[in-house]
Symmetry: C2
């Protein structure tokens, strides 16, 4: 195995928060290309998250963010498997970050499955009418429509939104990273956001 | 007019938080009976609140309470007429108290009008069946039923619940007192309460 520069491993650890050996192996597999290593670790994280997604999450914390001025406030519940992880610093930081993200990005739903079907139908009809005038073939129109609906989800669904502190990640990917780091299934369970005058 | 002992006025001010002249007049009208004076001021407060209830409340604050351990959290929005009152200490204290009350008393709805009609119908039917077996006249049964439904509201509706820090008052009466003190219409607009494992 190639010897990996310790500085590079440290750099990757700082950027991903993952363990020494995970970072070393990722750099070996990608010939010390740090961006590719991050990509690889993210994929692995998603795999781990998928494997853990069936596990029961009956522990967790409720966290809050009140924006200075007290005109906007957020409450969020994040679940995990054990109280040990619920008291973990990275878990608490994640809860803080998600609450602040919600205050800033105003998601309306947690995930695409939660979007009100009437609202979705209404949006689809508007888009279809606009696209019908374009004269494009039906198959192309369907593809454009799917792209536009995904864009809509990125706007209004918390898990699909780009994370406010790092828009290279969605909130769902941030959650997957935390699952990989802690080794537990973790779920943003529910949230609520109040703003004066809305 | 009878001269009122200043100590008595101070005592009444401490208990109600109202102005010097209001307290003096209340003691004069009740022959210095402090309990009756409090009762009188409460009625006046309710009258003032009723008069102000039509005024628009577009300002306010969002407040939160996280119970130690982070397993229970509350978010509450309280509205008033001006940002001046929104930054008033008594108003902020009220918002804190209401958030803590919600954490402890687990209300399901803000007011009786918000109770899910299906749930209410279901409860009424159970009560009716129980009462039908008693053999009492229908008029009496209706009265008992009304009493039991009001008791239900006191259990599940925030505004009808006895205030956790002083069960001589409902949360609605606490709100009326604050309206009398600040001279503005004030409304608990909405709340949400998350508890891990529920």
């Amino acid at each position: 195995m190639a010897k990996i520069d310790l500085k590079l491993i440290k750099k990757l650890r700082d950027r991903t928060g993952l363990g020494m050996m995970d970072c070393k192996h990722a750099l070996q597999e990608t010939n010390c290309d740090i961006e590719k290593a991050i990509e690889l670790l993210r994929k692995k994280g998603a795999d781990i998250a998928a494997k853990r997604s069936g596990r029961e999450t009956s522990e967790g914390i409720v966290n809050t963010y009140i924006h200075p001025g007290s005109k906007i406030g957020v409450l969020v519940e994040i679940n995990c498997e054990t109280d040990f992880v619920a008291r973990n610093d990275q878990f608490v930081q994640f809860a803080h970050d998600v609450a602040m993200h919600i205050a800033a990005m105003k998601p309306l739903y947690l995930r695409p499955e939660n979007v009100d079907p009437k609202f979705l139908e209404h949006e689809k009809n508007i888009l279809k009418e606009q696209l019908a005038e374009s004269g494009k073939p039906e198959k192309v129109i369907d593809q454009i429509l799917e792209g536009k609906i995904n864009k809509l989800y990125e706007n209004i669904c918390l898990l699909k939104q780009p994370f406010v502190k790092n828009d290279q990640l969605t909130v769902e990917q941030l959650q997957e990273e935390l699952i990989a780091k802690t080794g537990e299934n973790i779920k943003i369970h529910r949230f609520c956001r109040f703003e004066i005058g809305t």
